[in-house]
């Protein structure tokens, strides 16, 4: 099937009207020596039924599991309302809303999303999305460089290592220098930040809750850079935490960025996700990405439109704030619908996540596996397990994704795992894991 609704006669008539003899005549500008006659060497065409069966089979080659892992991707419950509404084809088959008169659906929803994210982060402006949390951090740093023209960045080791790797790539491409500050005991120390600062520091980056699940003292970190012309960037990879914890903005952040996949988007083997970038008002004209603004139409009716487009690539070209064009629009729509449905209940959901992770902590402590760090957590924490690889593999065989091994990125954290709980790790699921783990440890 190729979805071409034409008959042979249509094709012949159209060629006639154009004034050529065959379809190949329309390709005469391509030098003869490079023209192909045989299409492309891909497998033979499948009917829709066969494609359905093939993909279903491939999807079933992935083991379904209960997930006790986060690390920047959180398997939350996605209410069916989100799919039903976001799957309306007026939303998902639309293009970027460059013709606002026929895009008020998309534009209104994104305006709402910008508002909700500003309220949660404590910031004044949020854009319409970035590719993911890692690239939103990279672009937050580039924005910071545009702001104060400095090129050194101080980042805590407790920031997600995948994000730090992406930051490192963008940093190399932009000749930035990156200094990493340690986090012994799983938390960033303001004294260490202060010691790494100098007049050339563009930005300080911490994550909260950090990669170990520990809640950082953002206020103390902000205090340690007070007075320097340095921006504080706070990364959030589990945005549900902002429903329970004080907003990074209220604690001194200049820029808040990260991942909003937890809001209404599936874990989908890593993508598409939903980078978000929020900042104080003074960054407005330096923001990358799309911004939706409120305005009026020719009759004075409220209307929404893409605005401050002169920042963007299609107008400013080589002097744009970023090259970003297509972003993660539908993912932002899904997040907005999710947040609309949750309302203030989002805080109850956050408390539930925290308590469930507490339940898991207790269950593991009883098996002689207490948390490694003595610090406040949200819904993720680190444990140390003897024979960690064997234990993790055995549990995987039994249908449980038991955490993320940390030793690769943190050599001191030998035999350690990063565990997470969401509302999908119900008490029976936790009990089941604990029972399996007990059996595995005994053997």
């Amino acid at each position: 099937m190729s979805f071409i609704p034409k008959t042979k006669k249509d094709t012949e008539d159209m060629l006639d009207i154009i004034g050529v003899k065959s379809l190949d005549d329309l390709f005469s500008d391509i030098p003869e020596e490079i023209r192909r006659t045989t299409g492309a060497d891909v497998p033979p065409a499948l009917s829709e039924i066969e494609a359905d069966e093939l993909l279903t089979g491939l999807s079933e080659r992935n083991r379904p599991m209960s997930v006790f892992a986060g690390g920047g991707a959180y398997r939350h419950y996605v209410p069916p309302v989100v799919d039903q509404l976001a799957n309306r084809s007026e939303f998902y088959t639309a293009y970027t809303p460059y013709q606002p008169e026929v895009s008020q659906g998309t534009l209104t929803a994104i305006f709402e999303f910008q508002t909700m994210m500003c309220r949660l982060t404590g910031m004044d402006v949020t854009n319409a999305s970035m590719y993911d949390g890692a690239t939103s951090l990279a672009e937050a740093v580039l924005m910071s460089v545009r702001d104060n023209k400095k090129t050194k960045v101080v980042v805590s080791v407790a920031v997600n290592p995948r994000y730090r790797r992406v930051l490192s790539t963008y940093g190399w491409a932009n000749d930035l220098s990156i200094v990493t500050v340690p986090a012994p005991e799983g938390v960033t120390r303001p004294g260490d930040i202060e010691a790494s600062l100098d007049g050339d520091t563009c930005a300080v980056i911490v994550q909260s809750p950090n990669y170990f699940g520990v809640i950082e003292d953002i206020e103390a970190v902000a205090g340690s850079i007070e007075g320097e012309k340095t921006n504080l960037i706070v990364v959030v990879t589990e945005p549900l935490s902002m429903a329970l914890l004080k907003s990074p903005g209220s604690l001194g952040a200049d820029i808040v960025c990260g991942e909003a996949q937890s809001f209404g988007n599936p874990v989908g083997f890593g993508g598409p996700y939903l980078g978000f970038l929020s900042a104080k008002a003074r960054f407005m004209r330096k923001m990358p990405g799309r911004l939706v603004g409120k305005t009026a139409d020719s009759e004075g009716k409220d209307a929404y439109v893409l605005t401050l487009q002169t920042r963007e690539q299609h107008i400013r070209r080589d002097r744009a704030t970023s090259n970003i064009c297509t972003n993660q629009g539908l993912c932002a729509l899904r997040a907005q619908i999710y947040l609309a449905l949750m309302g203030s209940r989002l805080r109850d959901l956050a408390i539930l996540n925290h308590r469930l992770s507490g339940l898991l902590k207790s269950a593991l402590s009883e098996l002689g596996i207490p948390p490694v760090f003595d610090a406040p957590h949200f819904n993720e924490f680190v444990v140390r397990v003897k024979d960690v690889e064997t234990v993790r593999d055995s549990l995987a065989e039994r249908g449980h994704l038991f955490g993320i091994p940390l030793e690769g990125d943190y050599p001191d954290l030998t035999d350690c795992l990063l565990l997470a709980c969401t509302e999908l790790n119900s008490p029976p699921v936790i009990d089941s894991l604990a029972a399996e783990l007990k059996a595995v440890l005994a053997s």
């Binding site: 390709f27 492309a40 065409a45 606002p100 895009s103 083997f269 409220d302």
Partner: protein, 476 residues
């Protein structure tokens, strides 16, 4: 225009979490906790009505023809939506060990292989989340390649007709942009290019077919010139829909390219994404591709991070996987002939429209086009502009074409019907364009104040930029 904030009824319940009885130790120190959050409370029925109503104010490919030049707004097959939402894909956590995610890794691995066979490239990375992301990764590969060679080449050449993401990507990686002029017939001005060639030039970026919808007749000469100077040739693959199955990209002389899965490979545009912008390279550039790549050892698939010369990671995980599932599904349904037919009918439809519209509208470059063509508002009377015409098209149930791009054609209207439109739809579009042309003579005010039948009238973008209001709270 009611927003969610206008229907906020504090205390009303939209969704309720389960009421499990879990002993709660309040073990987060109070100083970290907020007092509550300020999100609107709306009942489920009203949330559903609100977004249903919003959807009726949107126009998608499923609403009508969307001839946006350079965007390839083809029909989005619904089978793709089904396969991408299969639980084995959608609920798969990215930290799942390779051995337990073989199905997902197979999709990624085979998709990269198909893209290689369609284009001639030797290896693809599926990590870039959009075309511009692929461009940026490509420019990074170019930089790493010359760094490894020890050659200092600060310049990348870009035609004046290029999409804005090209120069923006180049400057995001520390290079200088030099603009190459186009000739009157729409090809790159080869004489001017020759003057700009030097050992300072790292690469040239070219969209092929170009952004005017024309195939550059000097492409082999251009690629030879670059090769002779030791420079690389980057293909912006946004227009792949015009040539896939009819010519190989590497045969044109390109060394690397990005593809837009949300254009050529039918994945939906989503109102601004998510897309996917795979980066493909010839063999000598493979070492520099972003990690991880997806590889296979017979029938065992795995993520390969052991690539010391890689530019590094450009995405937290592996790219927009569920978007890749859609493109994979589409390619498996097209087969070898289907791929060729897509290009043939994309080009047929564009030439047909061009032939039938060129008597009513100015055609700046009168050449056989590829999958899109450019008209202009030259000769339209009564001060009616391209913008006015675009707005009036909306009243007739079509989406407007791309306007004012490429920059080198004043008042450009770029029309790309794609291959998924029937002849009847194309004929209707011609009728509408002719009717509007008549209106510019008989009732120009109607066109200048359009649109009239859409959810809102012409939107004031000027005030929106002068006095930006970017949140509901800023508006209050």
């Amino acid at each position: 225009m009611k927003t969610l904030f206008d229907i906020d009824t504090p205390g009303v319940s939209g969704w309720e979490p389960p009421r499990w009885d879990i002993p709660g130790k309040e073990d987060i120190p109070k100083k970290y906790l907020n007092d509550g959050i300020d999100l609107p409370d709306v009942g489920e029925v009203d949330v559903v009505r609100h977004y249903t109503r919003l959807s009726t104010m949107n126009f998608g490919v499923d609403s009508g023809m969307y001839p946006l030049g350079s965007c390839t707004m083809k029909y989005n097959p619904k089978i793709n939506e089904k396969t991408a939402s299969l639980p084995g894909f959608a609920s798969l956590h990215p930290e799942t060990p390779n051995t337990l995610s073989q199905g997902a890794l197979q999709v990624l691995c085979e998709l990269s292989e198909y893209l290689c066979r369609i284009t001639g490239m030797d290896r693809f990375s599926l990590a870039p989340a959009a075309g511009a992301h692929g461009e940026l990764a490509g420019v990074m590969v170019i930089r790493k390649y010359f760094e490894k060679k020890g050659e200092k080449r600060p310049v990348i050449l870009i035609p004046d007709s290029a999409h804005g993401t090209n120069p923006a990507s180049v400057t995001m990686c520390g290079f200088d942009v030099k603009e190459v002029p186009s000739s009157e017939t729409g090809d790159v001005d080869v004489a001017a290019l020759s003057d700009m060639m030097s050992d300072q030039v790292a690469a040239m970026m070219l969209t092929s077919p170009n952004t005017l919808g024309l195939f550059d007749r000097n492409i082999l000469e251009i690629s030879r010139m670059l090769k002779d100077h030791g420079a690389l040739f980057y293909c912006d693959g946004a227009n792949l829909n015009a040539v896939m199955g009819k010519a190989g990209i590497t045969d044109m002389g390109f060394d690397l390219m990005h593809i837009n899965l949300h254009k050529t490979f039918s994945t939906p545009h989503g109102g601004g994404g998510p897309g996917s912008g795979p980066l493909g390279v010839i063999e000598k550039l493979e070492p520099f591709l972003p990690v991880p790549l997806v590889d296979r050892d017979g029938d065992a698939f795995f993520l390969d991070n052991a690539r010391p010369d890689s530019i590094g990671c450009i995405h937290a995980f592996y790219g927009n996987f569920l978007v890749c599932v859609k493109a994979y599904t589409y390619i498996r349904m097209l087969g070898p002939d289907g791929i060729r037919e897509v290009a043939e009918h994309a080009v047929l439809n564009a030439n047909y429209l061009m032939r039938r519209l060129m008597d009513d509208y100015d055609l700046p470059i009168d050449r056989s086009c590829m999958h899109e063509f450019v008209l202009s508002d030259r000769g339209i009377g009564n001060d009616v502009t391209t913008n006015d015409i675009a707005k009036r098209i909306l009243d007739y149930g079509f989406h407007a074409p791309t306007v004012y791009f490429p920059l080198l054609i004043a008042g450009a209207m770029m029309i790309e019907p794609t291959e998924t439109e029937s002849r009847a739809t194309l004929d209707r579009f011609v009728e509408v364009m002719r009717e509007i042309k008549r209106e510019t003579d008989t009732d120009p005010e109607l066109v200048k104040t359009a649109p009239h039948t859409t959810a809102v009238g012409r939107v004031d973008a000027v005030t929106a930029a002068r006095k930006p209001i970017l949140t509901h709270d800023a508006a209050e």
